[in-house]
Amino acid sequence: MSNRPPPPPPPGSQGRTSTPPVGFGPGSSPLAQVQARPLSRASTPGASAGAASARVTSPLARSAVSPGPYPAGIHQAAQHSPRPMASQQMAAAYSAPPPAAVPSAQPGQGGYIVPGATDGITQQMGNMSLGQETYMQPEQTEVLSGRPDLTDLDTAVPEVRLPPGTACVGASACDERVQRVTLGAIPRTDRLLRKTRLPLGLMITPMASEAPEARDIVRCRRCRSYLNPYVTFVDGGRRWLCNLCGLRNDVLLSMDYDKEANMQIDRWQRADLRSAVVEYVAPVEYMVRPPMAPSVVFVVDVSHAAVQSGAAAAASRAARDALQQMGDADGRAQVGVIAVDSSLHFFCIRAGAESQQLVVGDCDETEAWLPAPNDLLVNLRECYAEVDTVLENLPTSGRGGVGCVLGAAIRAAQKMLTTGGRIVTVVASPPTGTAARVDPAATELNSWYKTMAADFARAQIAVDTVFVGSHLGEASVACLARYTGGSVLQYSELVGPETGRAVAEIAHMVSVPVSMESVLRVRASRGLRVSSYYGSFFLRSMDLLALPAAPPAHSFAAEIAIDEPLPPVVFFQSALLHTTAQGERRIRVATLAVPTTDSPHTVFSAIDSRAVATLLAKKAADRVLTARVADAREALMHKTLEIFGAFKTECTKAASGAATQLQSPRSLRMLPLLTLATLRHPALRASSTERPGERTADIAHVLSLPPELLLATLVPRMFSLHDLPPEAGLPDPATGQVVLPPRRGLSAEELSPRGMFLIHGGSDVILWVGRDADRALVHSLLGTTEVRSGIIALPDLSQESGFELNKRVNNIMRQISAMCYQVWAPLIMVCPEDGAPHVRVKLAQRLVEDMDPGAPSYTQLLAQMRDKINRGNF
């Protein structure tokens, strides 16, 4: 996920600029040089050829491979005379993939029946047994009992199996990190979807993987969807059939002929026909203004409470680290700083001169007033040293005042950011003022922040909020982040190693390359409609998400409704038009093809249970925002029961009677555990002592995290450290990635007094040390034999000898951190077996399979589900 700056083009060979496509306005500005970027998933050998799409293939190279040239009369501008070719041969060549060294889409290794091809066989076999065709094959269903097998959560995402010939060339399927659908086989009608009670949704993380660059943009005339690997070429290659709306579009000249170099090109080498995820460089028609420069304004609380709690110091360190890590490649980045207590402190920064602090006492929230016309938002490269000094002195710049006029500060920051940008607010006391005042104890939200968020979305300003402490009115202020595409971080207190963690996470949040002034649109085949979206964005229209900032780790979930009966294969295409941190306007397009089916058995056998659990968790978190927590929990449990109940009714023998065991399709066997884990997540945990705003950051995380990260926090990974396999913790020689040890069940039964266990929950890690654990092992891990309850940062002793376990555990933690896109920098909470109670409570919260005051244990949950489904009322 590291966003490297694009490699410089090799001299000579790639010296041509790409042209705007035929049909678009002439006189477009010359675009950036086209650079080939390797695909991250080389799933077919042809992927290496796909990486060369940026280069023009010479006519000699493609002679053996391509479908051959064109009939005389189509492209009059061709310089050399085309070889004559029989018309039916050419028609065959254009409607089928060329006989290249590219294998066609392989059927995946998923565990479900290929839809369409073997539906008949299922029916026949069902027919053979007693004439009943209403139940699934025995190997497809499973009886849920006992302990769940957590290794299921680490398997690859079930690959969507398409009928052969869906993709026009051997294209790599859509990377599941980018787009993931909950049902691998979508019901063809709404009635069937309702019968199965399954949620149909799409999880989109546009910037999750690398994407090859494509040369020119070809779009359908009617539905405006982009050319993708699933189109069909008809009429002898002269027209292409849009797979989303079915319109026959004319093939543009630019697809076959390169005007600049006066050469014919092989259209099959286009990146957007070979790869489902593609990035275009957008021409000037896609910009309303020149691409904006990355700008950041730090709004830091320097009131007495903030300085005392260490928030101001942490913010200043984090900001300095972030500015150091930010890749300011073209020197356009701008930075501003505003310190807030009961008045506003602006900093007039000039290169080479000392910065001045200007204090504005009476601040108005309706109309911002800036004390200086310029020099408040300065170019980072020119004034780096001065900005660094200002940030260093930030904690002492306040007067020790008691209030925090956050509203006025945000207005001022908005005025400073004339072309948009990011505002990073660090808040440690409840906002005061007039309209922006938040009473920490109030349950009603202050709608001023929502109105401001709407204004910000229009001005392309994204707000990231960091809260340090509690009772800060987080619920209201976090609306700023939620509706502008920003992130929310929350720390209860900054003592000891927590400060380092906060600094690292805030610095990462600020410095990660973020896509600015972006819009995301999801298009689907005819008959499908997106009914609601979940995530951190501003909904500008029924299907357009405005994202003033789109961090790479943010994911958007779209719930899909079926309006009309669907064709055999449906497609989802998401397009993100964004400005990169380097100032380029780009469009990231991802297309996903999913088969449809008429049979409920196929639907149930092709479910992606992790995606279903993610979607249900996001819906529940969204409901917590609008209704009460108890409602959200009940709705989630009810939905899970409905799904299993529908399975029982549709697909099992005991359709209406009572069953002795809970039956589940193989694809859904992790769902009860995932539901239980969701109910125990901090965002949804039942709690009688409810402080308003306590859950704000957790809800924001659930709503905006991609499935992999959400699952890492829902179901922690537990490893036993005292019996690590020899290859665990060391890089795998084949892939170079660190091998993770096998996962343990998340129950206190697994904890043995002789052992040491590491429970990695994404954002926090617990190290459990048994009473009789081997002291040498403890020393090898921590550098000391003394084990005390508390939070520590794992020391890095890998350089010294004799700390083998430490080296491995550090590798494991780094690997999991990389899998979680470096969003968190977790500390370790050491929990000895007879340690302090508060630490043991935290441990009990992470052991998902066990009973908890608010939730049953896993076996109890299965029994409850079975009873409720048998009774039929839930």
């Binding site: 929502k450 109105t451 229209s541 357009l544």
Partner: protein, 146 residues
């Protein structure tokens, strides 16, 4: 002309204005659905008219209440109660961030208001004519018309 007739004339005019207002709301909401305007503009435009509309309707209601036109009061009572309920729960304004969620409900509410104000218009017209006719027959009978 008696006070009642005057009140009905004014109510007639007000119902006409409120009818146009409700139609305007419906048009703006359908524009939002078809992506002709964005939710921020919609919220800003519509929120300026929400309270005046409720206030006008409330004034009409109070006038009829004071005049003792009970049937008219009963007809207008549900809408007044609905408006007061919205104000008490602070739900009367359009929120740009949440408007898409409740778009169909808002449209239904405004369609209902269009129908209601239209019927009210014709009812006030009828009542006004009846009041004027009754007055003039009273005048004729009591002889004060000559």
């Amino acid at each position: 002309m008696s006070f009642t007739a005057l009140a009905y004339i004014l109510a007639l005019i007000m119902a006409g204005i409120l009818l146009f207002g409700a139609v305007y709301f419906v048009i703006m909401l359908t524009d939002l659905e078809c992506d002709y305007i964005n939710p921020i503009d919609l919220a800003n435009t519509l929120n300026t008219y929400v309270m005046p509309e409720m206030a006008a309707h409330l004034v009409m209601f109070v006038v009829f209440l004071l005049m003792g036109e009970w049937f008219t009061v009963v007809i207008n009572l549900p809408l007044v109660a609905w408006n007061i309920n919205k104000v008490v729960n602070n739900r009367q304004f359009y929120d740009a961030t949440e408007v898409f969620r409740t778009l169909s409900k808002h449209k239904q509410e405004n369609f209902f208001k269009v129908a209601f104000y239209l019927l009210c218009f014709f009812y006030y017209l009828y009542s006004m004519i009846m009041t004027l006719v009754n007055e003039s027959t009273d005048d004729i009978r009591s002889g004060s018309a000559y």
